[in-house]
Amino acid sequence: MIRRLVALIMLGMATVGLLPWLQQAVAAYQAQVRLPADEQAVYQVLSTNGLVSCDVPTTIVLRRNLSRTDNFFRCTNNHGATVTLTWSALDAGGFISASGSDTLPANGTAACRSATLDAGNTADTRTVTFRGSTVADAGLYVQIHFTAQVTVQNGAGGLGGGCP
């Protein structure tokens, strides 16, 4: 009788002891579940024709002491939604200063914008930085930089112009 009781207790312990093994095996399986997500994301860096790209004339020529001269730059929005760009044009000497805000529709076409530049009173050639960024903190935020060489020349009359 006692032997049967001991055997029964041992059998119970063995059964109870095996259950955690099963639980452990299930837990370990769950921790190692891998679903087919190992697909790679792709990105591309281009010299031109980016998602939002801007350019200016290679060389902008201003006449010395000319108060204001219109020039232009062109931005293309290749994103699938409207992007509003706040842009500015600055140079280290501060003699050129222009800024504005333009909405670029999501149609993939270029938008030409005028930038009014104030020429300095000395003949010089500078690299001007045009800088643009979206104004809102929602959706796609884009901040871009593009540069142009600006030459201030002696003489009367101004070069440049607005959008074609």
Binding site: M13, G17, L18, P20, Q40, V45, S47, G50, G139, Y141
Partner: protein, 189 residues
């Protein structure tokens, strides 16, 4: 015969003690890592984002019907064209912030600490990965740093969602095409 049976039972009983210790050790760490999911009905469900950051269809299901794998293609642009980022030819950084690129939903019964990161060496142009409540304003919470590395996790309650934002700071000076793997996973908080 009986001694043999008793010996067998004794052996099993002793083995059971080991299993109990093992389970206690497992439960003490409480790690129940749910590795990346790519289906819309998995415990960590991924879905293409609804924000302007996905207006070009950058995040999409490989198979829209089965919704099996979520893919990211940052070349996508207007009219399904292939564009990409402008190279930093002027030595200035170009920033692109994709807000609500895709959505992560915790469909488990527990709060999960969710991480989104790039395993291994990620793209140098990837500045950070951030999460926030869908449509929320602000910068959100960073879950991975430069190159998608240095991951951390953010708690996500059962039934709740995060939008995932990818911020790029393109400093590459030469055109190229790259690829990387994004991993979304969680542990029970």
């Amino acid at each position: 015969m009986r001694p043999l049976i008793a010996l067998s039972l004794l052996t099993l009983a002793l083995l059971s003690l080991t299993s109990v210790v093992a389970v206690q050790s497992l439960s003490s760490t409480n790690q129940s890592a749910l590795t990346i999911v790519s289906t819309s009905d998995a415990l960590l469900a991924l879905a293409p984002g609804l924000g302007a950051g996905n207006a070009s269809g950058t995040a999409f299901y490989q198979n829209p019907v089965s919704q099996d794998v979520l893919l990211l293609d940052f070349r996508k642009g207007w009219d399904a064209g292939s564009y990409g980022f402008t190279a930093n030819v002027t030595a200035y950084a170009n920033l692109f912030r994709y807000r609500w690129l895709f959505t992560v939903t915790n469909q488990s019964a527990y709060t999960q600490c969710v991480s989104v990161y790039v395993p291994g060496v990620g793209p140098a142009d990837l500045a950070s990965i951030r999460v926030r409540a869908p449509g929320e304003a602000g910068s959100g919470l960073q879950v991975a740093g430069a190159g998608g590395g240095s991951p951390s996790c953010q708690n996500l309650a059962a039934g709740q969602s995060f939008e995932v934002d990818l911020w790029w700071s393109v400093t590459s000076t030469a055109p190229h095409t790259g690829s990387f793997m994004l991993r979304v996973e969680s542990i029970r908080a």
